[in-house]
Amino acid sequence: MAPQRTRWGAAGAEPAVDAAGLRMDGRRPSEIRVMRCVVGEGTFSPFGMGDDAHGPTGSAYVEQGRTAVLATVYGPRERASSSSALPGSTGALVNCEFAITALNVGGAASAGSSYTKADRRSSEMAASIKAAFETVIVGDGLQRSQIDVFVHVLQSDGGQLAAAINATSLALMNAGIPLLDVVCACTVGVVDAYYLADVTALEMRFHGAVLTVASTPSEHKIVLLELESKLPNQDTLDNALSVAQAGCQEVYHAIDDAMHAYFAAVHRAHAPIRA
């Protein structure tokens, strides 16, 4: 009798979703990883004007699973003379620098995968973050100013762009920059017929397409959409988008909680001492 045949394609190994409907780390396909946010740590003052001497105006540290990102915001401050705004732009100029000092965990931890702000991928990420936030920052009164955002990926286990956007969102709010809405981001991996929300580096090994979506939770406006690799058809994209939107909503709850916790702490610290 001939040996058991497996269908062609990825054979052996674990499936992305097992027979019980669970992913390798025990999540269901549409569940995102646990998020931990720390807001305002190391900022000069809650609503102060940050500068290099006094530290950032806003900061946030976001952990999504084992992906850890730190975002710091300086400004708004006077626009440096060298920087040129896009013609016709009415709002503030957002500068973004993106750096990975990553301890790559889980995924393909090769020498080539840790990159710094100089390389192409980092500038791409920076451009994406810049593009996402320029649409939501309220520009009135900030025409001549610039906002500098520094994003450091400290540890990477998939979904770094999404985590970076979430951290930037928090840091901007911490800095008191007026936003039209919060920006929440979530990745979705499309592997076989599964839509895996918030994919880990390990799950990226299945070489499915990865969609990163940043949207505004109250109006569900998509401010950023990035797709790595191809999707077979429109339906797949629609499905992936709706899973991503649901993921963004989850992320929003975490961000909302973090901001509430932060303001509660600030309120406690600044509350007048009652006699």
Binding site: M1, D18, L22, D25
Partner: protein, 874 residues
């Protein structure tokens, strides 16, 4: 060190129907079974049970195994099972349960590794086996308390007697562990077939000896050692070290089909410097085989030159090999000097790194039965040694065709032990023997699933509509006809030919059934067709790749009915040069479905001016004359004309008994159709290659190596003939010369040589154009620079893929994503090649079977020829 984050959940159901606590939890995942409320006991098998006792678990001889709970930790166990095996098995059992709607088995899967109450961290220095067992017992403890309210008791089922023995002490009394042996002992009275399905064998003894040797009584150990027949296999670590240091080499064990005492392993001795230089190392004598089977992956040790042996010329059959055990390794009485002179590199197996144990068919040897419940099983495949089989009803199994699975081979026993998987029927009975052929060649002969059948069009309503005609070429007026063997119902090609108005050439149409119009990419039907790969034709039945509604009705280009087709329209000049080629979907109406014989008669009639040539006749005449020229040109280019005589049987209508056997007659019309199929295959290959240079599914036939021709040259030399095999052209010319020279006095000789040439050839195979260089695309036998399979989508799945690629070329539909991927096409080609190989095996065996049936009670005197000779036989 890689570490993972794990989410432990409290919303995972226990899958017991009676459990109220879990009833409200969400159920996810693919069809999982549930444990019904009626049972009191639920078995939880461990990894080794899943690996070795598959047949027992799947059988329906007792209701004991109807409800099983599989643990996630067991399916993904490290240890000896390995992840993949467990999962493959689980998938297999699932599809099997779905496809064969026999007794419904309930396999529930409990995700204990993601469950908050049953997840366990691995302790430092804990071995795989210990960790697996701890997870298993802890989960069962949890389940026991969880199931307490409704009295369901989980019992661990294990292969290891030692585990059963130590469980109460080590893991506490609230875990019940039962070994397969205890289970069988307990229930064999009630369910007698349990014994034969269970793979008891000696695996346990081995395990006991090797793992816990210290625990056994010294006396017992000694008495076992006395009977040791084989050397112990070395550990994996030792093998790895040995392989690295170059002390051992690894290769695939190949038994000699003629002599069971001999086997060989082909290895590259100088892996780094010259990986292509392969040496064949002989393993002579059963002890040097050390329990390896044909096809196993083995680690071998090279023997010292002084111990090298000669290859014997004797044919040693199963029974003889059995007697030979004592004097194995004997060099057949050849003197010592002689041994040295023509000795070949010899070695011995030190470890079997991967078993290729499969079930095999055969029957029991009655003489080996000496009371008791066991007997020796003689496999039909001569390369497999005799297997000891245990059954409570052994007497009923004599004279029966059986499928036996090999379980283990202890080093204390001369034969491997196995168990009966299936009893097929009386040996000699045609249905039973056919069943054996199907099982051996693993031809999928189950019915189509409901999901696949749901993809079919409405059987009563479907017809070619205006909409079809609107979108396609309307070729209904063309004089199209199909030519096929008699009683052919799946007609996948039809032809037409009309003279061009200027009288200078012809328009030739090759119309192929448009299967892809019915079979959508990725549909359940498509998946199932891909799994079957090809239609398998046996003498008295066939197993189709697609449901009969398509093969013999909607796709089949039957006469007088409008059908959808994929057409290749060629404009050819009088010398059969292709001036232009167009491809497109069409609607055709075949004028007539002819047999080769009818078409031939029509041709002959017109040529001898007996009949008037109508439109159809002219079409046929044009095709025949073009085919003649095409053929000539191909032969000039070096295409081989080979012979592989096929026989056809005449069967009695009701009983299917063979009444007569003949050689299949090949007429001019056969060759004509073949020529145009080939032409369109080549045209299509060129077309898709132009559009998809990196991912076209093509078919090539590599040039045979000189070694492959050696036996042919030897045979030819025996007749004093010299063949020039330097290229396909010269070979063909030499063969033609033989035909001329010996044509009168020995007409059969050239056919014989052509047959031998065919046998020596390697098979043509599918490949992806992205994986090879252009020069490797060559089809040696057909002398075509590129070729593919386009013309039989009804019965070959590769053609379906080619149809999809061609469709994409001409802009009918986008190419599915996966068909762009050369790696995917490559994997697909490999599967197709494999399926084709096994699909060829079954018909050959079926013909063989029918031939034997026909001659069973007949004595005949016939001339025959010796085609090959062993050097010495006895």
């Amino acid at each position: 060190m890689e570490w993972r984050q794990m989410y432990l959940r409290d919303d995972l159901p226990c899958h017991a129907s009676a459990c109220d606590a879990c009833a409200t939890l969400p159920e996810y995942g693919a069809a999982l079974g549930r444990i019904s409320a009626s049972v009191a006991v639920c078995f939880v098998p461990d990894a080794l049970v899943l690996l070795y006792q598959m047949d027992l678990l799947e059988s329906d001889v007792s209701p004991l195994m109807d409800e099983l709970l599989l643990l996630q930790s067991v399916l993904s166990a490290h240890g000896p099972v390995g992840r993949a095996d467990g999962l493959v098995w689980f998938r297999r059992s699932k599809t099997k349960a779905q496809a064969v709607e026999r007794k419904r088995k309930q396999f529930a899967l409990f995700s204990n590794e993601h469950h908050v109450h049953t997840y366990l961290d691995r302790l430092p220095h804990e071995s795989d086996i210990e960790y697996d067992r701890r997870r298993l017992t802890e989960t069962v403890k949890f389940l026991r308390t969880h199931w307490q309210p409704f009295g369901l008791i989980p019992i661990i089922l294990t292969n290891s007697v030692a585990f059963e023995r130590e469980a109460p002490v080590k893991y506490g009394g609230d875990v019940t562990v039962m070994s397969i042996r205890t289970l069988v002992d307990k229930y064999s009275k009630r369910y007698s077939r349990l014994v034969e399905l269970c793979a008891l064998g000696n695996a346990e003894d081995d395990e006991a000896l090797e793992e816990e040797g210290g625990e056994l009584d010294d006396e017992e150990l000694l008495s076992k050692k006395r009977r040791t027949l084989f050397a112990e296999h070395i550990s994996e670590l030792a093998a790895l070290e040995g392989l690295q240091s170059g002390r051992y080499v690894e290769g695939t064990f190949r038994s000699s089909p003629y002599n069971l005492l001999e086997a060989s392993v082909s290895v590259a001795l100088h892996k780094k410097s010259n990986p292509d230089d392969r040496t064949t190392i002989m393993l002579i004598g059963k002890s040097s085989h050390n329990r390896a089977f044909d096809g196993d992956r083995v680690v071998i040790e090279l023997l010292d030159r002084s111990e090298w042996k000669t290859v014997s010329d004797r044919i040693v059959e199963q029974e003889a090999a059995q007697d030979k055990e004592s004097d194995d390794g004997d060099t057949n009485g050849i003197s010592h000097d002689q041994v040295r002179k023509d000795a070949t590199p010899s070695g011995r197996v030190v470890r079997v790194s991967q078993r290729k144990w499969q079930s095999c068919s055969g029957s029991l040897q009655q003489s080996s039965h000496s009371g008791g419940g066991n007997a020796l099983f003689v496999p039909a495949d001569r390369k497999i040694p005799l297997v000891r089989v245990l059954s409570a009803r052994i007497r009923n199994l004599f004279e029966k065709r059986l499928i036996v699975a090999v379980d283990s081979w202890s080093r204390f026993s001369a034969n491997p032990s196995g168990h009966v998987v299936q009893e097929i029927g009386s040996s000699g009975d045609k249905n039973a023997e056919t069943e054996v052929i199907l099982i051996e060649s693993s031809v999928p002969h189950r019915k189509f699933s409901k999901a696949a059948l749901d993809c079919l069009p409405d059987g009563e309503k479907w017809a070619v509509s205006e909409e079809h005609i609107h979108k396609r070429w309307d070729l209904k007026s063309k004089p199209i006809a199909s030519v096929d063997p008699p009683e052919c119902t799946d007609i996948d090609d039809a032809l037409h030919c009309v003279s061009l108005p200027d009288g200078e050439g012809y328009e030739v149409g090759i119309h192929i059934a448009d299967v892809t119009a019915f079979v959508q990419h990725g549909s359940a039907l498509d998946m199932e067709a891909a799994e079957r790969g090809t239609t398998v034709y046996l003498v008295d039945r066939r197993f189709e790749m697609l449901p009969a509604m398509l093969t013999s009705n909607f796709c089949s280009l039957v006469g007088g009915v409008e059908r959808l087709a994929f057409s290749v329209i060629l404009v050819m000049d009088k010398d059969a040069n292709v001036l232009s080629a167009e491809f497109g979907r069409s609607v055709i109406k075949s004028r007539r479905a002819m047999t080769y014989e009818q078409a031939q008669n029509m041709l002959d009639g017109i040529r001898s001016k007996r009949d008037h040539a109508d439109e159809l006749g002219n079409s046929l005449l044009g095709l025949a004359s073009l085919a003649e020229k095409l053929r000539q040109r191909r032969t000039d280019a070096g295409a081989l004309s080979l012979a592989s005589p096929e026989v056809s049987f005449e069967l009695e209508a009701e009983t299917n008994d063979v009444t007569d056997v003949k050689f299949y007659q090949i007429r001019e019309t056969n060759k004509m159709v073949e020529e145009f199929m080939l032409l369109s295959n080549i045209q299509v290959a060129e077309k898709i290659l132009k559009h998809f240079p990196k991912c076209s599914l093509l078919r090539h036939h590599p040039k045979p190596t000189d070694e492959m021709f050696e036996p042919l040259l030897k045979t030819a030399a025996a007749y004093g003939i010299e063949l020039d095999v330097s290229s396909n052209k010269t070979l063909n010319e030499s063969l033609n010369r033989v035909e001329l020279a010996f044509g009168k006095k020995d007409p059969y000789l050239s056919t014989l040589l052509r047959m031998l040439t065919t046998w020596r050839m390697s098979q043509a195979v599918y490949f992806s154009s992205g994986e090879l260089g252009y020069s490797d695309y060559l089809h040696y036998g057909l002398a075509a620079p590129v070729c593919t399979h386009f013309t039989s989508p009804i019965r070959r799945y590769a053609d379906v893929i080619v149809h999809r690629q061609l469709q994409a070329c001409i802009g009918y539909s986008a190419l599915p994503e996966v068909l762009y991927d050369s790696k995917h096409i490559k994997g697909f080609s490999n599967v197709m090649n494999e399926l084709n190989r096994s699909a060829q095996y079954a018909p050959r065996k079926s013909v063989h079977l029918h031939t034997l049936m026909f001659f069973r009670h007949k004595a005949m005197r016939q001339q025959a020829r010796t085609a090959r000779m062993q050097r010495i036989a006895w």
